[in-house]
Symmetry: C2
Subunit: 260 residues, 2 copies
């Protein structure tokens, strides 16, 4: 992505943003943002491979930003919210990036001070897939509280960052994601458990399955566990997948007898 | 693919080939061959959408060719072999194209006259995937009987047709294919049984899963059934897939308790 000219940048208010959590996704996200915002990041660990435009700061300094992105695992979110709640700037807008939305939205409302604005957000891409997609990168947003009016600015920022912004309620998101991202990770982890290997006689379809396996299993195991556990629709998805596998195998019963 | 010049063609003996079975794959295969060979096709049905370079003829005429490709379903193969065995040219080379190899190789040896040469062959692509692959199209070959020395000519023909020829025994092929093509079709049919749909929030991985579903389910159901039933290794593959699904779900048990 080409940086805009200084003149163009001056026409926009340059946002200051904090990224809390500098794991693989957090570093990737901070780097994207840094092409359009002033970005600092914070983590309990000292991070050595930060993107060049991103500075690591102490939590207290990180909480001075007007926009605070949370790029921590779903299961870590409540603890992180409890840690930031006492010191967060009262007029901040907090935006999570978790792969489920109902649970984080409820936790942000429950734990953050009433004065703080909240946006639920899910970038449907990560460090592995972003570079391979040829279309704009889909991101889901939903305003939980927006009294300081930064929701539209954030959506514009995402659009400038080559994203396609879709508005979707947390509940709609979780139902849709269970039967798309959720089933993809279930298949990827299943293939990994089978220890599938590249083959000299790979069909195109098999090559795609291997890509799914590699990409989903390159994410932390915690992400698989969290997006299966904290999405209220994935239990049904997993049951339907197991039932569908039995239905597919049942297509074989007659043939089974013939072939033996 | 550009046709060679007449001069280049004259330097090669132009093979005459028959394609027995003019279903979707048979028509596709006949069309590929027709850029380098004189091709006739035969089918019990009258085919209206034949490729322009391919003539449909009666079985008796089809059996005059020196090379006879069988592009029928795996389960139909024994019947077809019994029908052609009495009238086939005694020095023909018969080449199957089935998605399993142990069973067709044994049936060809058992049913065809002793004088006839036999090649086991599996093109690891079809009408849907051939155009999407950017690499050379993989094809597996194995000489069962080659007294008329056409095996090398056939491999050269495949190379000219932009294929990557791999030699592999029927048993090795079936083991390898069960855990690549076989698992791919199992996943594709399972996803179809779930009735997965395109999603506005599709991740790259989910888009790939949908491609696998569409491509495998665009093949006849018979192909799924046959390649699961007539490959001696797919039963083990299906059991390992089901076990791996349980193992992937077991990764969730702790989280299950936490999330409830």
């Amino acid at each position: 992505m080409k940086p805009r000219s200084t003149e163009q940048q001056d026409n926009l208010k340059r946002l200051s943003a904090t990224v809390i959590g500098l794991g693989r996704f957090g570093r990737f996200w901070a780097e994207m943002l840094s092409t359009r915002c002033d970005v600092v990041g914070t983590s309990r660990r000292r991070i050595t491979d930060l993107p060049s435009q991103v500075r690591q700061v102490e939590l207290a300094d990180a909480l001075k930003a007007e926009i605070v992105f949370l790029t921590v695992s779903i299961s870590a979110l409540p603890d992180v919210l409890h840690r930031i709640a006492p010191d967060i700037r009262p007029d901040a807008t907090v935006i999570d990036t978790c792969s489920v939305k109902v649970f984080p939205a409820a936790e942000m409302e429950r734990i953050l001070p009433e004065s703080v604005d909240i946006v639920a957000c899910h970038p449907m891409f990560g460090p592995d897939s972003a570079g391979e997609r040829t279309d704009r990168l889909p991101v889901i947003t939903w305003p939980i509280r927006d009294r300081y009016g930064r929701y539209e600015a954030v959506r514009s920022l995402f659009t400038e960052l080559n994203m396609r912004v879709e508005e979707m309620s947390p509940d709609d998101h979780d139902r849709e994601a269970a039967f798309s991202q959720g089933v993809t990770h279930l298949v990827g982890r299943t293939l990994k458990e089978m220890e599938l290997q590249p083959s000299p006689i790979a069909t195109l379809g098999y090559t795609r399955l291997l890509q799914v396996m590699e990409q989903t299993c390159n994410d932390p195991l915690q992400l698989f566990q969290d997006l299966q556990q904290y999405n209220p629709y994935t239990r049904e998805m997993r049951a339907r997948f197991a039932g569908a596998l039995e239905a597919a195998r049942a297509l074989l019963l007659d043939g089974d007898r013939k072939a033996q």
